[in-house]
Point group: D2
Chain length 363, copies 4
């Protein structure tokens, strides 16, 4: 299943940017979970475009319609299907693109795979718009996890080389909330202002800028995940690379590992109040693919939005010759900040899947 | 299945560091593929320990015994199971570890998961030794891919912050072979000598050092992989994070994406000899999860070997109190260089799986 | 994923009998396949209730609304999601059932699984109504298969012990069409009249009657399916048991095998026009889990509709005491005849999945 | 994975009839489970050939060698791999078969799939001999289930149309043991003697005879399994059709459903000692794919051994012409009685998988 992830909790996304509707089918949600639909909407609004000059002008209400899986506002065990109708597609902006693949987009690979039958309007099924249904799944997962003391938060770590500070070792729910409520999701607002200035300058320069997102989950019990290929890192990475524009995923110390000695990488164990913890968390809460009980810490690299207003070199696929392309329409000068809730969403959904599966290491 | 990856070609690894044997079961290999067993052995020898001061002194012949799946030396379609007998375990070196988890190892999470029943001798099923059967699978996959013009090569990119040069945009089979035959797998031997000096100095300092590996696959046809969660990046990452000590995976521009503008991230399309290519390859050969036909380029971060000879702080799990631990026995002062063929192996196995699945985007 | 089947082509069903909508998400359809929506509707109408006294009076138009995956009427490679709105639920008919599980239904097991949060109105997600979206998937699969010369047909084999004749060894498309167009899908209309009389007499007797369905697929190439647990029988059975009320699945000679000698079970091979066939087809087109190239022949047992108007003994789950139950509302005195297109649908979807996967036994 | 089944507990079988060894890799076994190796051997001996005139004269000790997954005799959480060396292959008996497929065997489909590279000696990977490693997995599963009060037993239900009596509604462990210890596993020994006479007469007539097996599991908690396609019936059927020669699987009333009214098919609910049960068990312990808490009852049809000593018609695949074939060597005049422990084994492994997954319907 190409547009699906999960083992016990399966999240399956459908829709194209300019189709009738986009949506998600979530199979395996536990029954009896009340969904706070207003809180879910606030979560979706964090990702929603059209709010300011930092993102695309495409305006979508992103109101989910629930087709199944809920009784009143409570899960009933049956698959939960929710859709979002596409209200503001502007398909004519994309006419020329049917034969001229946009550099950095999936237009060309979609054409190779589906031989010209692909829906190339607005990126079709590859559009960043498909992250809206992902956020429905993740927003629901976040609520269910929170009820068990597991909190997932994220912030914009880097934009165009400008870095925010990192989360503290044990971020509180309050800190997660504080960042989530900011219009620009950083810990250090001064850094955030510099980042925003850079994004606006990229916009003026008819280009776009990349970034990265840090995500942390606290309260995750030790013992989740399985060795080797079914570990927490494997499952999170497999899902996170499904977010459009993600080019790297790392846990804990990540790529910094290649520059350090064991003393900066091993986490000493210690006992406090009868339970084991580590004094540092370079492992990002995962050893041997299995959770340690420490916060899960991951980072995700997001490439600059490929759609830019500058003229670019491409090919005309119907004539098989070189061509020039100028993309019109509405585009994000940066998508890393809008990816923040999406990374949270995917992380939360995978963690709920792991929690539902539980630790069956012994009976 | 925790110790398995793949969809059409399934690679399943079993065994513990100090058990009777370790091995791999490969289900879904095409029939009629002759395996050059000497070439396979040479590939396994690249990973094999005990060759010099840069790796553990544990000496293992790593000769595979084929139990099934071959007629003479040719695949017959049935699952191929191959085992390696453990000849030099030295289990007594690990006695104390049963109750004192080694920082940075999976000892503690194994204990949480399997409640003291885990085989903790030498890391048990989490041992780096399990990468030997992975190399059997990958070595076979490399031979089958090579017959179709697909070549996979890797080199040590960084050790302790010291960097080798990168692969050129289109590395040749000769270059791959040249690096593979070196005792220390780098492109620039001067950089390699500095790295080796650093590793030996880490060894003298009773510590270890991390690194990263760059891996490239050439000749991969466009159109493999599927959108969103069943893409080439998702499947490669899910498998690569199964290699012990890997903490990060990136494709193409990877985390550098967070510091650049679209002009350094988009790859212009062009036509040459009637086919489409990109003039740069920041995408690492993958757009929208689907191969572009350009080389696949990925990097993997490998943490410093957690087993070091210095005294470390840990806990005594039977007494639930803080404790000191000094690990004796034989250990690698760096595992990044030994990870080079393992990254090749896993990449090759995943690519063969994708190739067998083929592009069923249209009939 | 509980409500999903398939490997390359994934069919995922959602919705509850009395919810907002029911639907299907089909991931992995090849692009470029034109769907004849009128033909699809005719197929759906074969399953649709409310047409005569032989089935429930619940009247549903069963008109699919396509949310994604189509450009005009042609598949575009993205997941195809189609829904059917529930127009005639009559939920009040089911009030008492919330605490009194209907014998033979999944009410009790749903209650055990979802602890009273289950949507028990009309059987919820377990309702036979969920076979409508299955028929959307299967109807599309049938069109795609037919374009490749693969035809799937079915008829009612038995009702209440009264048997129709069996399909001839190599049924033609014309025969499949002829049966499909009949209001009561049997080969022998005289047998069909007796069956209908029995169904009506069961209705008058406030009970219901069971039956079985025979399904045949012609034109299936040899070599599909894999050994042991990923064979054609395994995959078809796993999907067919997902049809509500199915209690048995057999291939070729099936359970009759237990009464015969090898001479009535082995199929002699022979050569005709340079290709191999078997002179009989007791194997039902499958040997060792792999297709032989002969027609696939299977039978499915369908139990009597559990909802009957007679008073039955059950329990009151809130009081944990014995209770009497009389089910009001609209029910089918037999569902085996309505299962005929559903068995076709599921068989077609699984065969398309196998065909898309193809034979990768050798490169 | 073609030769694998299971979701949490994965059972993967490898080997060919005349290869070096056959074996099983079991991933996901809970740790801390002591395996009584003598009891396991007794279970394997029930399937072992060469004991009397009713089965093939091929003599195999079928002693498993454990390569991984055990510490002493207790599971350690790592994948358990066990092999059986092939000691008595007699490959020369099979020479002619390389080009002449045996009717009723997978020789022809293996040839189509693997283009002549298949190991056709003794049926290769399709051989009934592969059920020995299945019995290792199932024998271990049976011990783990028994410790939780879940017992699995089976008997030969029918041979050549001659029927044994059925299991009583709630068979005891003692009854299961009694049947298991009989050299010919039937409930009614008089019926058993008639069956044996029929098998011996088939042998004398140079043919073979089919049969069926009834299997029951008691003590299974209510609430296991998931709706539609991940139900208990789906998962059991998918695995049971992996046993060579199985052509039908039914649960509870099974195909008899097609001859009855709802009164003979619905099971009235009742309360006893504060818990719910059904007074009859036509559902075979499963409603809506989910266990009811009543015994699971299933039947499996086993075709006559395809290898018979009579001359049969086949084709010469290298010359593509009709040919005659007389199979020499050692063959079973019936395999249904030897399938009895195999059906138990597969049923037990699937039930342990379901039990490990547990009921995550609510948190």
């Amino acid at each position: 299943m190409s547009s699906e992830f999960g083992k016990i909790l399966k999240v399956s996304v459908f829709g194209q940017s300019h189709g009738t509707a986009i949506g998600v089918n979530i199979d395996g949600l536990p029954a009896g979970e009340k969904i706070d639909l207003e809180e879910l909407q606030r979560f979706l609004d964090r990702r929603r475009p059209g709010k300011n000059a930092l993102s695309t002008a495409r305006s979508e209400a992103d109101k989910p319609i629930f087709l199944s899986g809920l009784m009143e506002d409570t899960t009933c065990g049956a698959p939960l299907c929710a859709i979002i109708e596409n209200s503001d597609p502007h398909s004519k902006d994309y006419g020329e693109l049917a034969s001229k693949p946009r550099p950095g987009h999936a237009d060309y690979t979609a054409w190779v795979k589906w031989k010209g039958y692909a829906d190339m309007r607005g990126g079709g099924h590859f559009s960043g718009r498909l992250t809206a249904p992902l956020c429905i799944a993740g927003g629901i997962a976040k609520q269910i996890l929170a009820r068990r003391g597991i909190y997932v938060g994220a912030h914009l770590q880097v934009v165009g080389g400008l870095a925010d500070q990192s989360f503290p070792p044990a971020p509180t729910l309050e800190l997660f909330r504080e960042v989530a409520e900011k219009p620009f999701p950083v810990l250090n607002d001064q850094a955030g202002e510099q980042m925003q200035a850079l994004i606006l300058s990229a916009k003026e320069g008819l280009t776009s800028v990349g970034g990265s997102v840090e995500c942390v989950a606290t309260g995750v019990p030790a013992g989740l995940g399985d060795p080797m290929f079914d570990g927490v890192e494997n499952r999170l990475a497999a899902a996170l690379f499904g977010i459009p524009a993600v080019k790297g995923v790392e846990f804990g110390i990540g790529f910094a590992a290649s520059a350090v000695m064991a003393s900066d990488s091993n986490d000493p164990f210690a006992v406090r109040d009868g339970s084991v913890f580590t004094e540092t968390n370079h492992a990002g809460g995962i050893l041997g693919g299995i959770t340690t009980g420490m916060p899960i810490v991951l980072k995700v690299a997001v490439k600059p939005t490929p759609s830019i207003a500058r003229e670019q070199q491409t090919v005309n696929l119907s004539k098989m010759e070189n061509a020039k392309l100028t993309i019109h329409g509405r585009h994000d000068p940066c998508i890393a900040h809008r990816a923040v809730p999406v990374v949270e969403a995917v992380t939360a959904a995978v963690l709920l899947d792991l929690l539902l599966e539980g630790n069956h290491g012994t009976f």
